[in-house]
């Protein structure tokens, strides 16, 4: 009874709790002496956050109207508003769920990779980062998004720097410089918008951009704002050619941090870009007249190929996956770019307002699918690193024989990455190709197809290394990963297959969000 009333009282405040809970957890973790206690706090917080995100998404999906939460009950233009709609609800759940699933894995991995003293610090930074990511996605305020972007970024720099390799520091430093440049560009962009419209609230900016655009002088400023914000966020999401910080950061960060960042951090930035393009600028400008779709499509395709090539030649498994991440971000952004283009009437039977845009659906679905698959892949490497202390090809040769369950899960996630039918990756590819056909860009269908062949090569290469090479000295001695690592790993691996067969959880929600996003602006 009292539990019920408590829940009822809490429910309206769920959006803010999504931020407060991890922030508070971070604070607690900072003061812990023992890494295990800090880990336990993180575990509880992560699960709680995931549950809240799940609850929020369910509410949205059942009511269909966005949840607006006014902080301190201040009205929108003055106060900060948190807004959860289909899109943000979906991305929130993806990030929170990935974070929660990998927490059981973290304890042993962190205990092995990070000095005893620094372990609570790691968990504190992780929770701070989680709070930041949640904040980016949930906020309805452009400047607040910047603040959360910086919170998550600062925490990320520390997470990377905690890596055991001495180059971790350089990687963190580079990321810091680049991250700051990105954030600066973004803040210049929204600064311009503030000057133009006098508000920082996304929805208000959107509604006031129309008059600004009518004036040719102010139109130039709007374009500049778009350019700055677009490039700033693109840097954060590692869009080619602004991706160069990513391989080092992913390679030298602690294993769990890599898995977490690969699964979530770029996704939050992608969310922010979609938000800016479709619900801020897209409302009053028709996006297809802007250069953004073309730039996005060209850069995405370049990423799909060039980063994949780099992955093929890589001899460090983590770095290989990092390059693959850049390529996969290319897939997501290609979907977003395609969604900006008009759908050819001849290719679909219904009007765009009622059918979800396939390109956007592909992009959103791949946010979830890629998060799951890449997290699984990096966790598998984390387990290998835990056992043999290296992820170089020469050291992991033949390790499939001694760690079959780990490498089997790796293989399944790898199949997903290639877009094998029956896995989640295929679903993304299917919608992406449909999106390309819808816009009449048949050539892109072939580029998608060709780039998945390159991913086949790099996954094939590592598969061959781990299963058929003579085991290295370290691999021959290795034992199967502990259960606490195998369980999260296999949850993600099985999800890769499950989401390839039952797409209700991903495609239906993504299509719903795509309908609201793309349908709304046409």
């Amino acid at each position: 009874m009292s539990a019920m009333t408590f829940l009822n009282a809490v429910e309206p405040h769920l959006p803010i709790l999504l931020i407060i809970v991890p922030l508070f957890g971070a604070l607690m973790a900072t003061f812990m002496r023992s890494g295990t206690v800090a880990w336990f706090i993180s575990l509880v917080v992560s699960v709680l956050v995931a549950l809240i995100a799940w609850k929020l998404l369910n509410t949205i999906l059942s009511t269909g109207t966005p949840i607006i939460y006014k902080i301190g009950n201040w009205e929108a233009p003055i106060g900060i508003v948190y807004k959860v709609d289909q899109l943000s609800g979906f991305v929130l759940l993806v990030i929170a769920a990935i974070a929660a699933v990998m927490m059981p894995f973290a304890r042993r991995s962190i205990a092995a990779e990070i000095k005893q003293r620094a372990q609570p610090w790691y968990y504190a930074m992780y929770l701070l980062c989680l709070a930041g990511l949640m904040g980016i996605v949930i906020t309805g305020d452009a400047f607040n998004a910047f603040v959360f972007l910086e919170i998550s970024s600062l925490a990320t720099y520390v997470l990377i720097a905690l890596g055991r390799h001495r180059r971790a520091l350089l990687a963190a430093y580079q990321y810091l410089i680049m991250g700051t440049i990105g954030a600066t560009l973004y803040v210049i962009g929204i600064g311009l918008l503030y000057v133009l419209t006098g508000t920082l609230n996304f929805d208000d900016i959107a509604s006031r951009l129309g008059p600004a655009l009518a004036d040719p002088e102010r139109r130039n400023a709007v374009m500049a704002a778009l350019g700055f914000a677009f490039v700033g966020v693109s840097l954060k999401l590692a869009l080619f050619p602004m991706h160069v910080w990513l391989p080092n950061a992913y390679t030298y960060a602690p294993s769990v941090a890599t898995a977490f960042l690969a699964g979530t951090a770029t996704k939050a930035a992608i969310y922010l870009l979609i938000r800016l393009l479709f619900t801020v600028f897209g409302v009053s400008i028709s996006i297809e007249t802007l250069p953004v779709p073309q730039v996005l499509i060209v850069l995405s395709i370049a990423a799909m190929f060039l980063a994949s090539f780099s992955a093929v030649f890589e001899n460090n498994a983590k770095r290989m996956l990092a390059y693959s991440s850049i390529a996969q971000v290319g897939y997501i952004m290609l979907g977003v770019g395609l969604a900006c283009l008009p759908v050819l009437a001849a290719t679909t039977d219904a009007s765009p307002a009622t059918t979800p845009n396939n390109g956007m659906t592909a992009g959103l679905v791949h946010i979830a699918n890629h998060a799951i698959m890449k997290a699984a892949l990096f966790l598998a490497l984390g387990a290998v690193y835990y056992r043999i202390g290296s992820v170089l090809y020469k050291d992991i040769a033949g390790i499939g024989r001694t760690m079959p369950l780990t490498m089997l899960a790796f293989g399944i996630a790898g199949l997903g990455l290639m877009g094998t039918p029956g896995t989640a990756g295929f679903i993304s590819k299917w919608y992406l190709a449909l999106g390309a056909i819808d816009t009449g860009w048949y050539s892109i269908v072939f580029l998608i197809v060709a780039s998945s062949l390159i991913s086949l090569i790099y996954i094939g290469r590592i598969t061959e290394v781990v299963w058929f090479r003579e085991p290295s000295a370290a691999a021959a001695q290795a034992k199967e990963a502990p259960l606490s690592m195998l369980v999260p790993l296999w949850i993600l691996a099985l999800l890769t297959i499950y989401l390839g067969l039952d797409t209700r959880a991903t495609v239906d929600v993504a299509a719903e969000a795509a309908k609201v996003l793309v349908g709304g602006i046409r």
Binding site: F230, W467, T503
Partner: protein, 564 residues
């Protein structure tokens, strides 16, 4: 619900359990049960379309039972059983599992009623089968496997592109007769053609099959190409272009099969030649021709499996399958030699062996349809098979002067598999009705007329005479260890250079591209950078600066484009 499951899935699910079974005996018994259980299940299924399900809002029909799918499914299951028996001595669960998943996915593809299900199993055959190549563990196998994988999955993605366009254009996913008039139809034909080893698209087969493990080659020889024959028979029956394609396949492979030294490669080329016969049959498209193509696929599966098994046994015992290193093994491996000869007689289409009853259908169909040149070409290729497969393979392995160590007789399980396959080769030859009654089209055909027996014997014996005389007078081309250039040259040699360029591109791209742009277009950047940092620091932080530079370039591009 019980009759909604694709039989291929039974095999795949069974395969997934294999790694968890302890002990070779239990594992072996279980693996034998898999195809038997799937076959028993298949027998209970009535004709019709089942397994309707919805995925991503698409209506799928995952199980289609008709005469065409049943005959292929049945022969695939028989071949699976034979392959399992042949591999029973192996302790390697990776190969067992991969082989069964591969077989199961080929069976699943045959019973698929729609393109998405077909594509699912199509890709699965590619991915599972590559393990059979990699498992042999040689450096050659690793690269051949990767090339094989790329080409096979490439066929799948071309299929996917075609299917997507077909779906967008027609709104249906049902896999039925296709047209080559449209782009999707052409794409799908190319996808099928890659797996069917069409000329110039064929080299994956000749490279990969000989690189696989002893048992892997046997399994590989059964499924991929015959699955493609099935898809062609269903989708492209009567497509005229297939006739010249098929005849070309039948003829050009003769040259390679005659010259090759590696007997498994000889068989691989010979297999492509026989595929040509089937493809031409499908192109002719009459009821008799389609029946012929299907029957020849079934018989070809059996006798090529038998020949690959025999040469595999030789490889297993002596460590080589090169003609120039073998010979005289009939004394030490008499049973294997006997089975090889039976396979050879079937391949030569000698009356009362399997090849005879199926090849006759296709040649008769070509004749009745008035395709004179196709008929003559296929007849010539059929005569040449006598030399390069039926005589050359057993002769150099078992009867020629010994060039290497004598082996010992093959393991019992291999002998059993070969014995059963040989029995089937003879059984179908003696009692063709067993196969004819299963064929998809309703046609009466009597292969055993005096005329037919005599003319076929003439063809075979005179071909053999030509071989003997050519050998006698030193005209037979010497088979030595060598590489024969084939269409893979086009991607292997220029491809390697491209890869080197790509590799160089990858390591120097930033330096080269950046240098070019920096020196040319943006001297300011250089000047500024030199201004702000000493040279030592410049070297160390260059990458970060480079990143910032590219960000600027992108920003500039976006802003400038916005103003255009």
């Amino acid at each position: 619900m019980t009759n909604e499951l694709n039989p291929g899935l039974i095999v795949i699910l069974g395969a997934l359990l294999v790694p968890f079974l302890p002990g070779r005996v239990l594992r072996g018994a279980f693996m034998l049960m898999i195809p038997i259980a799937a076959f028993a299940y298949l027998r209970t299924l009535p004709m019709g379309d089942f397994g309707q399900m919805e995925l991503m809002g698409l209506q799928l029909q995952t199980l289609r039972i008709d005469k065409l799918s049943t005959v292929f499914g049945t022969i695939f299951l028989i071949a699976t059983l034979l392959g399992v028996i042949y591999a029973l001595h192996l302790g390697d669960w990776v190969q067992h599992t991969a082989g069964l998943i591969y077989a199961g996915s080929a069976i699943g593809a045959v019973f698929a009623g729609d393109f998405v299900t077909l594509f699912f199993f199509w890709e699965l055959t590619a991915i599972s089968s590559v393990f059979l190549i990699w498992a042999s563990g040689t450096a050659n196998a690793l690269s051949a496997g990767l090339r094989y994988l790329v080409i096979q999955v490439g066929s799948g993605v071309i299929l996917l592109a075609g299917v997507l366009m077909h779906y967008r254009a027609t709104g249906t996913l049902t896999f039925g007769a296709m047209s080559t008039e449209t782009l999707p139809g052409t794409l799908i034909l190319i996808a099928f053609g890659i797996k069917c080893a069409f000329p110039l698209l064929h080299n994956w087969l000749a490279n990969a099959y000989p690189a696989a493990t002893v048992t892997g080659t046997v399994i590989l020889s059964v499924f991929t190409t015959k699955l493609a024959v099935y898809t062609l028979a269903r989708g492209y029956a009567g497509t005229e272009i297939l006739i010249p394609i098929g005849v070309t396949m039948a003829l050009f492979t003769v040259i390679y099969a005659l010259l090759e030294n590696d007997l498994r490669r000889v068989l691989a080329y010979s297999l492509i030649g026989q595929l040509g016969l089937m493809v031409a049959g499908i192109g002719i498209g009459s009821d008799l021709a389609i029946n012929g193509a299907v029957a020849h696929a079934a018989c070809g599966i059996l006798y090529f499996a038998l020949l690959f098994m025999a040469i595999g046994a030789v490889l297993h015992r002596t460590g080589t399958a090169h003609a120039s290193k073998l010979g005289g093994l009939a004394k030490s491996m008499p049973l294997t030699a006997t089975f090889a000869v039976i396979g050879a007689l079937a391949a030569a289409a000698v009356p009362f062996f399997a090849g005879f009853i199926s090849k006759a259908l296709i040649l008769s169909a070509a004749m009745k349809a008035g395709h004179f040149w196709a008929w003559a070409g296929l007849l010539a290729a059929g005569a040449a098979v006598v030399i390069h497969t039926a005589i050359k393979v057993p002769y150099f392995a078992f009867f020629a002067k010994a060039q290497g160590e004598p082996g010992t007789e093959a393991p019992a399980n291999m002998l059993l598999a070969m014995g059963l396959t040989a029995a089937l080769c003879i059984g179908l030859g003696v009692y063709p009705e067993a196969l004819y009654s299963m064929l998809p089209r309703e046609v009466k055909y009597q292969p055993y007329t005096t005329e037919h027996i005599i003319t076929q014997l003439q063809l075979v014996c005179f071909a053999a005479l030509a071989f003997v005389l050519a050998l006698r007078f030193g005209l037979f081309p010497a088979t030595t260890r060598a590489t024969l250039l084939d269409s893979d040259w086009f991607y292997r040699v220029p491809g390697r250079h491209l890869a080197m360029i790509a590799n160089r591109f990858r390591s120097f791209t930033w330096e080269v591209v950046a240098d070019g742009i920096v020196k040319g277009a943006s001297k300011t950047y250089h000047a500024l950078y030199h201004h702000h940092g000493p040279d030592g620091l410049f070297g160390r932080t260059w990458p970060t600066g480079m990143m910032a530079f590219w960000t600027t370039v992108t920003l500039g591009a976006v802003v400038i484009l916005s103003y255009l």
